[in-house]
């Protein structure tokens, strides 16, 4: 992030509650639960009052929600509605295909904040979700098997390699 010297690392769980509901629970470094439901985002932190705001004010969350719900729900038409999609895959020596799905928001207003989302995976398992924000900041979610393998001092390069690369 531009405002920070080092990347910010948090770990937790991202859960799809069905419908348009998503829950993001952070366990480390501090506990926080965010719920996206009915166009509202509610944040809860230990020892503080819950805070909520409209999804409209956080376009990258809208993007996250759209892509996640569509991907997990296998809803191709919804995905197509919100994004233009490109799909690359490369055959790997080791076995399953590695692929990258690039989603570019169609809504110009959203695109002002979120430039693109890339999802890296291998076989039928997503490994990484990278959200490229329009101001140059990058958010990387390591998913599934990679979730436990976050480096202590990650850089863009090491993370990218992790997403794309080796076992």
């Amino acid at each position: 992030m531009k405002v920070l010297d080092q990347p910010l690392v948090v770990s937790g769980e991202l859960g799809w509650l069905g419908g348009d509901k998503l829950e993001r629970r952070v366990d480390h470094p501090s506990k926080e639960t965010s719920t996206i439901a009915d166009g509202e985002v509610t944040q809860q932190r230990d020892g503080r009052k819950p805070r909520s705001f409209s999804l409209k004010r956080a376009p990258q969350l809208q993007v996250l929600l759209d892509s996640f719900v569509a991907l997990l729900g296998g809803d191709a038409s919804r995905l197509n509605q919100a994004f233009s999609i490109t799909f690359d895959s490369t055959r790997h020596d080791g076995g399953a295909d590695a692929w990258t799905l690039t989603l570019t928001p169609r809504d110009t207003r959203v695109a002002k904040t979120v430039a693109s989302i890339q999802i890296d995976g291998r076989g039928n398992e997503p490994r990484c979700m990278r959200m490229q924000e329009a101001d140059g900041d990058l958010a990387v979610d390591l998913l599934g098997v990679l979730a436990t393998r976050m480096p202590v001092a990650p850089t863009r390069e090491t993370l990218l390699a992790l997403c794309k690369g080796g076992s």
Binding site: V3, V26, S30, S34, G39, S54, K56, P59, L64
Partner: protein, 775 residues
């Protein structure tokens, strides 16, 4: 008079009318400010009420609701409408729930440290900053990151958001898609106009502006915009009243013309008899234009109604013409009586002048000028123009039969006593309260509009229009200080649910004293830099990220405190300037209240302050104003009645004859009151004005019936003239009585009843004339 002379006179008369018309067209300025029609306030509360009627923040609020589409589209309509209206100079404030940081002037942004209460409980030191920075770090890794990222370098303690929270209405509606929504899925907006709430013209312009802006938005088809609020209501009411009055007026004018044609069978006479009335109206307006800078719309509406009396003058002349007799000779015979009638009506209308209310003074000038012009032109101009040959109405067979019927009616001496007794009984037994003090009851709104207003007001937490908290001090700073002292007490009342929310001026701008106290708590540049350095230890923030923050704190620390007049220039400051107003040597702060549940608790709060704080009940103040108003009119009427008795007695040169004229008139007036009261009608100012008009007409009937000529034919003519007058008045005002608008109905019903009672009583109580004279 020879033909050429008549043509010349007619031309001159028409030219004079045209001249008056031009003068009126050029100079007439119609005002619609209702305050012109209210008496000069005597108590401080009444004075405030008058100011409130025009300038109160509550009365200038319009509530908007956009519905009929999915939330997302309504939200963008709401944003589009708000953006358009914010550019419109007619509106001082537009809120739709979306907080616009741009609303706080860029130059004023550093002042956030003096405006926000953060420093009252915190010091801007290492510990506080470290806690704040840690929270921001958490924010950055949270879904809210993109919201806050932009603010971070300049405002790491999120003071702007704290102010935004402080300045949004305390009880704000649900936020959906970034804007306010009601439970019924309408996007809600709150708009404050610059124009006074009860200035229907300015408000209708503002409402039209809102509708135009809405219809110019892309995507508006399919969505509906609903508007509510005092200003909108004044537009609806005046449109409704004017529309119905015009429709009824058109129908009754046609009826009136047909009636006169039927009565006199002469188009020429009809057209000529319109001249005195036209002269009266034009001369009346011309007098107003010359004497007053602005003429009130209500003066004109009432004035034309009251001028209805003058229509009788030419009717009398037409009915009393004899075959073969010169019109001038007929008029000469009538003139003493006509002059008495004119003088009496003028005296009655003089009562309006004595009331001291500007609008009523105008009414008096208009009607008295009009009556005099109508009377004298009927006497000195009209007869010269009327055709020589006329049909004597006295020969008409139906009239002879009618006169015989009237003459045969029994006239028992106990009859007036019986009527008087019945009147007193009815007045005593009538249900409900005698006076209607609530002027709004006469111009009621459709129930669905009121319900919608209540619902939107509740949803938006918009301030109550009835109560206001008034803070008084020697200067603006004094008011702000007082407001600050009041804040904790008010918060306690809100916690006790005595009131839902209170908005005080200090919520927007703290006093200079408090600003200085906060200023002193701000650290110097180096101290702050050190604190930041220590606080960010071990955090990944970029070095020098917070330089804009340090700059802003330094600006806040070294600037002079923010003054109300500077703040008022910003978009947000408009709100404050509506709440902080200078008044004759002192300043007032207006605190708006929402959802008052316990007025007594607020009253107690006010009384603790020893007069510096007052709770203004606008409804009570306006009712006390109406009571004052009525008392003045009643006093003036009492005086006028005395004068009237003297005039009539002098004119008839007999107390006994005066009694025959005045007794039926008085009795009929009270009978109207009694019947209306029995029907459950509460008497308002409009009823009083209508009663005076009816009494004026009744006086004519009594005067002419009383006239002792001993000539049977002349008595028939009197009956004819009176019947034409009564029928035309019943036609015009009877139509009004059917109106659905209470104010029109009040006037229509009162005058119609009055005309009927005056007619019957003046016939039955007239000294018996004709063949079986009973005197």
């Amino acid at each position: 008079m020879p033909r050429s002379g008549r043509a010349l006179l007619l031309t001159l008369w028409l030219l004079a009318l045209a001249g008056l018309g031009v003068l009126v067209m050029q100079r007439l300025k119609v005002s619609t400010d209702l305050r012109d029609f209210m008496p000069a306030p005597t108590t401080p509360d009444q004075r405030l009420l008058m100011e409130q009627v025009g300038e109160g923040p509550g009365s200038r609020l319009l509530l908007l609701a956009v519905s009929g589409k999915p939330d997302a589209e309504l939200s963008s309509l709401s944003q589009g409408l708000a953006t358009a209206l914010r550019k419109d100079a007619r509106f001082s404030q537009v809120l739709n729930g979306g907080f616009d940081i741009a609303a706080l002037d860029e130059r004023l942004l550093p002042y956030r440290y003096l405006l926000s209460p953060t420093l009252d409980s915190e010091a801007m030191d290492k510990d506080f900053l470290a806690d704040q920075f840690q929270q921001r770090l958490d924010d950055l890794s949270s879904p809210a990151a993109s919201l806050l990222k932009g603010l971070l370098p300049r405002d790491p303690t999120l003071e702007v958001l704290k102010l935004a929270e402080r300045w949004t209405p305390a009880k704000s509606p649900e936020l959906r898609e970034g804007v306010w929504f009601s439970a019924q899925s309408e996007a809600l907006l709150l708009v404050q106009t610059h124009a006074a709430g009860f200035d229907p013209d300015a408000q209708s312009e503002a409402v039209a502006g809102i509708e135009k802006a809405f219809h110019a938005l892309p995507g508006n088809p399919g969505a509906t915009l609903a508007i509510s609020g005092p200003g909108y209501f004044s537009v609806v009411i005046s449109k409704q009243t004017r529309g119905q009055a015009e429709r009824i007026g058109n129908v009754s004018t046609v009826g009136f013309i047909l009636l006169l044609l039927l009565a006199y069978r002469s188009v020429g006479s009809l057209l000529l008899s319109a001249l005195p009335i036209a002269s009266a109206a034009l001369a009346g307006i011309a007098a107003l234009v010359l004497l007053f800078p602005q003429v009130h719309g209500i003066t004109l509406a009432f004035g034309f109604t009251l001028l209805g009396v003058a229509q009788e003058y030419p009717i009398r002349v037409l009915s009393h013409r004899r075959a073969g007799e010169d019109a001038i000779a007929s008029v000469r015979g009538l003139w003493p009586l006509l002059l008495t009638a004119i003088a009496s009506a003028c005296i009655a209308y003089l009562a309006f002048y004595a009331s001291g209310v500007n609008g009523l003074k105008q009414l008096a000038v208009f009607t008295i000028t009009g009556l005099l012009v109508a009377g004298f032109s009927t006497r000195y101009l009209l007869p010269h123009l009327l055709p020589m040959r006329v049909r004597d109405v006295a020969d008409m067979p139906w009239l002879q039969r009618a006169r015989r019927f009237v003459d045969r009616l029994p006239r028992p001496r106990w009859m007036p006593l019986l009527v008087a007794l019945a009147t007193v009984l009815m007045l005593a037994m009538a249900p409900g309260s005698f006076w209607q003090n609530d002027l709004a009851a006469l111009t009621p709104l459709p129930q669905d509009l009121l319900q919608r207003d209540a619902r939107l007001r509740e949803a938006l937490g918009a301030p109550d229009v009835r109560y206001l908290l008034i803070l008084q001090a020697a200067d603006a700073q004094g008011v702000l200080k007082l407001s600050e002292q009041l804040e904790p007490k008010v918060d306690a009342l809100v916690a006790r649910h005595a009131v839902d929310a209170v908005e005080l001026p200090s919520r927007y701008l703290p006093s200079e004293t408090l600003q200085r106290v906060r200023q002193q708590k701000l650290p110097g540049r180096t101290a702050l830099q050190e604190a930041i350095e220590q606080a960010t230890q071990g955090m990944p923030f970029r070095k020098d990220l917070f330089a804009p923050f340090v700059d802003d704190v330094e600006t806040a620390r070294s600037s002079p405190p923010l003054k109300p007049e500077v703040f008022a220039q910003s978009a947000l400051g408009q709100r404050l300037s509506a709440m902080l107003v200078p008044r004759e040597g002192h300043w007032l702060g207006l605190g708006t209240l929402s959802g008052v549940h316990d007025a007594a608790a607020l009253e107690a709060l006010a009384s603790e302050s020893g007069g510096a704080v007052r709770l203004l009940d606008l409804k009570q103040a306006s009712e006390s104003l109406v009571v004052d108003y009525r008392t003045r009119i009643l006093h003036a009427l009492l005086g006028a009645t005395g004068l009237l008795v003297l005039t009539i007695t002098f004119a008839l040169r007999s107390l006994r004859r005066a009694w025959h004229v005045l007794a039926p008139m008085t009795l009929a007036t009270f009978l109207v009151l009694a019947v209306e009261r029995m029907a459950g009608v509460e008497i308002s100012l409009f009823h009083l004005v209508a009663l005076i008009l009816a009494a004026g007409l009744g006086l004519h009937y009594a005067l002419f019936f009383e006239r002792d000529t001993g000539d049977v034919a002349e008595q028939r003519r009197t009956l004819h003239a009176t019947l034409v007058c009564v029928l035309s008045a019943l036609l015009v005002f009877g139509m009004l009585a059917w109106s659905t608008i209470p104010v029109l109905r009040a006037i229509g019903l009162t005058v119609s009843l009055g005309v009927a009672f005056h007619f019957c009583l003046s016939i039955l109580m007239a000294p018996h004339v004709g063949h079986d004279d009973a005197r």
